[in-house]
């Protein structure tokens, strides 16, 4: 049912707490999963899509402060009674998602793995928001573009991304023409190939080298799915040593 890293990292016992309540849905690009200032009703585990967590601005625009792919889970906030979040959840790349009612997530948090899942996913969103703030303040548009593209490939586990230049422009808060010129430059250097609505990354290693240092700060070791697996392995080691 799922190809989401977090769900895959859970033990059969922890997963059994969720299984009766999980539903799989397909969301298209641009679907709004939640609006700001509202209590979260569901948590979304991307299976083949990408969710952007954006801050909406008064002029109608928005800027991304984090994104969640197969490595994590997305929702308005990982607190049962917190509705102060000013973010919007937007499907940036359409695909399949597994949904779980928030009430069931919190009902299962006595389980250590579920408690970890909530904590790691919350950490991940906070960590990205902090990094994005620094990145936007000091890094160039082309390096941020490369970073976003590299991270999207890593988190979607694919080199082919179905998204428009308008999407990338809104995510990075830059002009569409700027995206076109940066994409043309990367294409000229053989890093990517793009057509309308489709970007193919030809050389992920060189793309990473062209990206800003934020790639290192937000790499796999910090993903909720990786941390969940590490926590499970660590527990298994302790149990076998016991």
């Amino acid at each position: 049912m799922h190809g989401n890293g977090c769900l895959s990292a859970l033990s059969a016992k922890a997963m059994s707490l969720f299984r009766p309540y999980l539903t799989e849905t397909t969301f298209g690009e641009g679907t709004v999963l939640w609006e700001g200032k509202k209590l979260a009703s569901e948590v979304y585990f991307p299976v083949s899509g990408l969710v952007s967590i954006v801050v909406a601005l008064s002029d109608g625009g928005s800027v991304e402060v984090g994104s969640i792919g197969l490595e994590g889970a997305a929702c308005a906030g990982f607190d049962a009674d917190q509705s102060d979040f000013n973010t919007r959840g937007l499907v940036q790349i359409g695909g399949r998602f597994v949904r779980l009612p928030m009430s069931q997530l919190f009902a299962a948090k006595e389980n250590t793995e579920i408690e970890n899942l909530i904590a790691f996913c919350r950490d991940w969103i906070l960590m990205q928001a902090q990094q994005e703030a620094g990145c936007t303040a000091v890094h160039s548009a082309d390096k941020r573009f490369c970073r976003w593209l590299f991270q999207a490939c890593e988190r979607m586990e694919t080199d082919t991304l179905l998204l428009t230049q308008e999407t990338i422009a809104s995510v990075l808060g830059i002009r569409r023409t700027t995206v076109t010129l940066i994409a043309q430059t990367l294409q000229a250097y053989g890093l990517i190939r793009y057509r309308r609505g489709k970007i193919v990354v030809l050389d992920r290693a060189r793309l990473r080298a062209a990206a800003c240092e934020c790639c290192n700060s937000l790499d796999r070791q910090h993903w909720p799915s990786t941390r969940l697996l590490d926590a499970r392995r660590s527990l298994n080691r302790k149990l076998s040593d016991f």
Partner: protein, 137 residues
């Protein structure tokens, strides 16, 4: 030229000129007039220059019409707001230096293109001479 709501909307192309490359916006985009296209070019220049103002002062964006005829050109240093606090003469000197660096980049790129063409011609000549030598031999 595209037609929108019975009105003709002109197409403009943007050509990014960096120190070592020319990057065209192949598809172009529609703007009501040249002034609007210039405004877009300035916004794009700000995007590309942001946090790299020192290194990219000599970069330019050329605005071309749909037949790829150049309409105008924006030198990044000229619209760099991070040097607005400097005395006018210092700003002016920075702009002049950036313009000269841009001219030097143009010259180097032209030289590279010429060299590539000469190399291609020589290779072609070698092939032709080889074929002629073979026929005679």
């Amino acid at each position: 030229m595209a037609v929108r709501g019975g009105l003709q909307v002109p197409l403009y192309h943007f050509l990014l000129k960096t120190r070592d490359s020319r990057i065209p916006d192949r598809d172009g985009s529609e703007w009501p007039n040249e002034s609007a296209a210039n405004d877009e070019a300035a916004l794009v220049a700000h995007d590309l220059m942001r946090n790299q103002e020192c290194k990219r002062g000599s970069w330019r964006i050329e605005v071309c019409d749909e037949d790829l005829r150049p309409c105008s050109e924006i030198l990044f240093a000229e619209i760099d707001e991070t040097i607005s606090h400097l005395p006018p003469e210092v700003r002016h000197r920075h702009i002049i230096t950036s313009r000269r660096m841009a001219a030097l980049s143009d010259a180097v790129l032209t030289l590279r293109m010429t060299l590539a063409e000469v190399l291609e011609t020589l290779n072609h000549a070698n092939t032709v001479m080889g074929a002629l030598g073979g026929k005679r031999g």
